[in-house]
């Protein structure tokens, strides 16, 4: 298929009544509403950049006093600040806790979300698929406070025997070593609750991508003698790969920033522990800020904002990484 070339731009074609129509400098011919619409769209695009810049500026400006303060000054004004600790060493465990909870949640949620999405898009009878898709979307509408309550009152007691069983039988595995929390208020429980919270977004995006698999490619696989699963593997999953990565990153973004549920469930601590079943080891940045902000003043507020800056940078880095992964194999993506 060829696309008709536009007329050579050197000579403008004569307009009505023999008048020569002048081309605009930009080469387009828009006027009236078309032009206004372009301004609106450009403005909306610029607004996003402006908001992002404003947030970044706020974080840097208000976090700066904490970043430049000496450990002694910080220890004086920030509650529970250990002596002789730099800000980086203080924020480090928070960053670790945040990433740990979010990555664990993602590891749990991505396979399940993909499974649900595949079931809805390629296995379920049509009527069941519609209902199920609707239900999954509904999960996304539950406020995170409710998830926090549910995780604290229902899920933690339910998971406790599971964690105890793992602690007894699988403690050789480093992640399950240590003293299992008697209350279940560990990072493992938090990860499960976060996984449930990010499940809808991962499922919804994956489902949309899987549904867009060209019929042509599915039939190509089937005509070669593929079973349904082989068809999914050869045609659907490769096509949806970048979409699933985007879905996972959206989920990761939500898990990184989740505040209420973590705050309500996790019993906090500031260590680099990998013992997921122990309580009092971890804290996430968002929950830390929400917890300490009401009573903070002076340099303590700047410290909180500096940790917020760390979260901002992490989220930005995660998204750029995702973009890079998606773009890496572009020529095989099916977009051309």
């Amino acid at each position: 298929m060829t696309i008709t070339d536009s007329p050579p731009s050197g000579e403008a074609p004569p307009g009505p009544r023999g008048r020569v129509v002048r081309r605009r400098a930009s080469g387009d011919t828009e006027r009236g509403f078309s032009r206004i619409f372009r301004w609106i769209a450009t403005g909306a695009g610029a607004l996003i950049l402006a908001v992002l810049a404003a947030v970044a500026l706020f974080l840097i400006a208000r976090g700066w006093p904490a970043i430049t303060a000496t450990p002694a000054e910080l220890a004086d004004s920030v509650p529970r600040y250990p002596d002789d600790t730099s800000l980086v060493a203080y924020v480090g465990p928070l960053v670790f806790g945040t990433l740990l909870a979010a990555v664990l949640a993602l590891l749990l949620a991505t396979p399940v979300g993909m499974g649900i999405a595949l079931f809805i898009s390629h296995y379920a009878p049509r009527r069941l698929a519609q209902g199920l898709g609707y239900l999954v979307d509904l999960l996304a509408a539950i406020p995170s406070v409710i998830y926090g309550l549910w995780g604290f009152l229902v899920l933690a007691p339910v998971l406790k025997p599971v964690w105890f069983w793992l602690g007894e039988n699988a403690s050789w595995f480093p992640l399950f070593a240590g003293k299992v929390s008697a209350t279940g208020k560990s990072i493992a429980t938090v990860a499960v609750v976060l996984a449930v919270m990010v499940l809808p977004i991962i499922t919804a995006v994956s489902r949309e991508v899987f549904l867009q698999t060209p019929k042509l490619h599915e039939e190509a696989a089937l005509a070669l003698g593929a079973t349904r699963w082989e068809m999914v593997r050869t045609a659907v999953l490769p096509f949806g790969r970048s979409g699933v990565i985007s879905a996972a990153m959206l989920g990761l973004g939500r898990a990184l920033g989740e505040t209420m549920a973590v705050l309500m469930i996790l019993s906090p601590g500031f260590t680099y522990s990998l013992h997921l079943l122990e309580a009092g080891n971890h804290q996430t940045i968002a929950a830390y800020i929400a917890n300490d902000f009401p009573e903070a003043s002076g340099l303590a507020v700047n410290t909180l904002i500096a940790t917020g800056l760390a979260l901002f940078v992490i989220t930005l880095a995660v998204n750029m990484l995702a973009r890079w992964i998606v773009a890496r194999r572009k020529e095989f993506s099916g977009a051309n």
């Binding site: 298929m1 049509r126 060209p214 042509l216 490619h217 039939e219 190509a220 696989a221 089937l222 005509a223 070669l224 003698g225 593929a226 079973t227 082989e230 050869t234 045609a235 490769p238 096509f239 790969r241 194999r329 020529e331 095989f332 993506s333 099916g334 977009a335 051309n336």
Partner: protein, 259 residues
């Protein structure tokens, strides 16, 4: 490597709607059989029942028998997946897997069918299949590049290579040239002439000159009107269909009076 197909009183339905009515025909091995007829006459639908691709559409089902060397493809213990491995299909629009290289595209079916294949066997199969599809000399230096980077005609030949790589008995082609330019069409038509030495070929085409050029036997399908089922009007040697058909409808169609 080539088998006969006998269709006996085949009726094809989409839900309650009967799309094709009572088709019986014999398709000879090592020959090219062309299906012609106006749009909506059921020729593609009938083609897709020959390898059970028809039932991929929800609600579609078939009555009657389609026998491959006497074995009913719609028998109770026949696995449609096995049928499709024996009877390959080339589609209207070239559809190489976009995420795979040219080499992986050729091997896609083989990897499904028997999983493990040594590197040297794979290399040999890739070369022989691409040679079989008249594509080898054009792509031999870029086997690791994506198949979607080829031209439309090359992509279609890649799809043919992928189909013959699993060594089917029959190759079905659903308007394989309708998305291609005349040069690529010619390349595919030449290829069909070579493929018929080894395979039973069935081709659906809108292009009557193409049917006349490539096929040994021609079947003419027609419908009485919209909403009516398609029927097989006449099937004969291609030369007879185009010179002295028995039915008036066939003569009107091949002489360009309608359709």
């Amino acid at each position: 490597m080539s088998k006969r197909i006998d269709a006996k009183d085949v009726n094809i339905y989409y839900g309650d709607f009967r799309a094709v009515e009572s088709v019986s025909m014999t398709i000879e091995p090592r020959s090219v059989t062309a299906f012609i007829g106006p749009s909506g006459c059921g020729k593609t639908t009938f083609l897709r029942t020959l390898n059970r691709m028809h039932e991929v559409v929800p609600g579609a089902h078939v009555e009657g028998k389609v026998e491959l060397e006497g074995v009913d493809l719609y028998g109770p213990d026949v696995d449609p997946v096995a049928v499709r491995r024996t009877i390959g299909m080339v589609f209207q629009r070239p559809n190489p897997f976009p995420t795979m290289s040219i080499r992986d595209n050729v091997l896609a079916g083989v990897k499904l069918n028997n999983r493990r294949i040594s590197k040297s066997d794979a290399d040999e199969l890739v070369e022989s299949s691409l040679r079989g599809a008249n594509l080898w000399s054009e792509v031999k230096d870029r086997l690791d590049k994506p198949g979607s980077g080829l031209s439309g005609g090359q992509q279609q030949r890649l799809c043919i290579a992928r189909t013959i790589a699993v060594r089917p008995e029959v190759v079905l082609m659903d308007e394989p040239c309708s998305a291609l330019d005349p040069i690529s069409t010619l390349a595919i038509e030449d290829l069909i002439q070579e493929l018929k030495k080894d395979y039973t070929i069935v081709i659906v085409t809108h292009n009557m000159q193409q049917a006349a050029r490539v096929s040994d036997r021609t079947a003419f399908f027609n419908i009485a009107g919209t909403g009516k089922p398609g029927k097989l009007i006449e099937m004969d040697d291609t030369a007879t269909i185009f010179s002295s058909p028995r039915e008036k409808d066939t003569e009107d169609y091949v002489s360009g009076r309608f359709g």
